[in-house]
Symmetry: C2
Subunit: 425 residues, 2 copies
């Protein structure tokens, strides 16, 4: 293959396109109600989703959605608010409070369209009880750094919130709530996406308390007290206020992986999907994927080259250094180190939301030349990994993938191309 990088970027584009609301959302919209329509939403895809609803909804409606700073778009009849992610801020808190106000006097013949996507958990943040935003922010910061899974993070978030874990839908009662979901969580469990503001929550306050213990988090007294109060329990699956509600999965990691695989096959490259829900410490998972790529190269297993090995999910980074970078750059730097310049292996690792962690890049690409090019510049690849500084590393060698925000989020895409033995590069 002449241009492996271009090929891998086309796979990433296909994966992102399959998750983009303007391509997929309209087919999932329900029949209009006899009463009013209220659109509520939160997440990295909220404004892209709201645009589709505004453009296609045949009746009067109003609404409020919250998305990440810099990602708002004009959504006509639906107000768009921007707020902070991944650490919540006052703007998200105000939006959450306004949403609860908006659904206060809904009737049984009204319809709520809930547009829920990844990132909605931080964006739609309203601490319960006497918990201060700063206290919740501090807990959030620790959660993102301690290596907890997204499921654990969300379990804890739900139980210290006044809006998550089904509380928003409960507040909409007796109106019917139709949740339209873009999944960024393993298994596509609806109640986990954006901490499930409109879905019943099977988790308990006791489980939330256990997560604090497991990761030895330092939490404010207000949080400890709230988690021991009755308010901490979320409405569960048996709660009658969810009766008649509906949900639709609009986009998901597996759907995007299939789109990337189809793109590869359309270019005559066999594709193997390993998993849509890879979790774990990015640098360790990078070593395992290097071993799988070697196996393809040397033993034609689990798939013979030329081939592309695809996976989704979301790895995590336990931060120990003070550098810049997200899980995709960290994964790929670890993989490059494990491959040690092995020829014929090229890998893209990008977040489908267009932002890997907190920098400006979706991810990066490595190939057999990455380490050598870095060392020519006097850079020590292992040192950059050690300092959690993979962004700086890939920025220096010009191998970041920068797309800007994609206005959707179905987690990471890893695409590893293994060349055939005689494939010129």
């Amino acid at each position: 293959m002449q241009d492996v990088r271009g090929f891998l970027e086309r796979l990433f584009s296909a994966a992102v396109a399959a998750a983009q609301p303007e391509r997929v959302l309209a087919d999932f919209l329900p029949e209009p109600p006899t009463g009013r329509t209220l659109v509520l939403g939160a997440g990295k895809a909220a404004s892209a989703m709201a645009r589709v609803v505004d453009a296609t909804w045949p009746q009067d409606m109003s609404g409020l959605v919250v998305t990440r700073y810099g990602q708002g778009m004009d959504c006509g009849r639906i107000e768009v608010v921007e707020a902070a992610h991944p650490v919540p801020d006052l703007a998200g808190q105000q939006a959450a409070r306004r949403m609860l106000d908006l659904c206060r006097d809904l009737n049984a013949d009204d319809l709520v369209l809930a547009l829920i996507s990844g990132g909605g958990s931080a964006l739609l943040s309203l601490p319960g009880g006497d918990i201060e935003l700063a206290e919740k922010q501090e807990l959030n910061r620790q959660l993102l750094e301690c290596g907890a899974s997204i499921t654990e993070i969300n379990t804890l978030r739900k139980h210290i919130s006044a809006i998550k874990g089904g509380r928003l839908a409960a507040a909409c009662h007796p109106a019917k709530v139709v949740s339209l979901l873009i999944s960024d969580v393993p298994g596509d469990d609806p109640q986990v996406i954006a901490s499930g503001p409109t879905l019943p929550d099977p988790s308990t306050a006791a489980q939330a308390r256990a997560i604090i213990d497991r990761y030895q988090l330092t939490v404010a007294d207000s949080i400890r007290q709230f988690l021991l109060s009755e308010q901490a329990e979320t409405p569960g699956p048996a709660d009658p206020r969810f009766e008649g509600d509906e949900l639709q999965l609009v986009a998901a990691p597996q759907i995007s992986l299939q789109a990337a695989a189809a793109q590869a096959r359309s270019e005559a490259v066999p594709a193997l999907i390993l998993s849509d829900c890879i979790e774990g410490e990015a640098r360790e998972i990078g070593k395992a994927f290097a071993a799988i790529a070697r196996q393809a190269k040397f033993h034609n297993q689990p798939i013979a080259p030329p081939c592309v090995i695809l996976s989704g999910g979301e790895t995590t980074v336990s931060i120990k250094g003070n550098g810049k970078g997200g899980p995709n750059t960290e994964f790929n730097l670890a993989m490059a180190l494990a491959l040690a310049g092995e020829s014929g292996i090229t890998a893209l690792a990008c977040d489908t939301d267009g932002i890997d962690g907190s920098e400006d890049n979706a991810g990066c690409i490595i190939d057999e030349t990455s380490l050598a090019r870095a060392r020519e510049r006097g850079l020590d690849p292992a040192g950059y990994l050690e300092n959690n500084d993979a962004w700086t590393f890939f920025d220096a060698i010009g191998d970041l993938v920068v797309t800007g925000p994609t206005h959707t989020n179905v987690n990471d895409l890893r695409a590893i191309y293994v060349a055939a033995p005689n494939d010129p590069e």
Copy 2:
């Protein structure tokens, strides 16, 4: 399938059998020399290999091999010494010194059969220069606990040794050395197996020093001084003393994985080999493999159930707690936690040498009932993982796999069975 555990144990047995010297070694023996034959060897398979040579070699010969305590067997004309593993002791040091003495006055028409297998690095230990055994032991202990790869561990060991990294073969010069190797290292690189006492070493003293820095190891002054001396450099690929030497790979992880796959297929279960060289932190790799097993169950990828997903290699454990257990039990406990009782997934993780880390077990088996059975006994699975106490966990629920020493070593075998949707268990 009625008995998934029995099935997985048969796969493990097939993998071990394919690496057992009495089954495979005789075919690799060279023609006898016109001069004398000297057999030298070190590793977990040394005594099993020496037995085969003693039983089949048609000429006079003598020899000395060193293996792990409790694993020595009567090898007739070849003396067997037992020594400590994974931390070297005086017995291994004395055996190493005797070996160097034995090859001192060899001639050009003599033959040295070098029987090299995993574990040989610790068993054949002779510190260079003024380095005390206790100082080397302490460094070894840190190396095993810091999370360094086996390649890194061996690079450092070679450069502070008087016998590793080709030094033994150099001492045999001008005799011809035929190395018969059982590989336990990624990529089956001969100079890495048992720290390559009979193979040229491309690594340098500078690389060894960098590993000390990378993992912030505390080393004795004698080690620092030796690593800065000329003696620290090992004989490299251009050294003329290696001319005429030969090597044969007798057993390797990939060969054993193929045997396990053949056993599965003979029982009508499709098998997929992911990699023969998985490395990384055991608990993180466990999460990734759980995600791959889920993908098979829910999306028929990378292989449709019923199926078994096989992999080799050697994961590592960065010890933080004070419990008991090796990488296989730790891998499987992490995988069980990530699977959270998911039905229809059963996994064996065992070391082919029969000893997972330092306890009495080869590994363990998990299934959908493992966590529930543990919790019924009041055990907290996550707590056992946190404390690096997976051996105690699996011992308590009766799910250890205990084979005793197998007298060979081609690293770990992970075999994950995913049941078909209607497969009764």
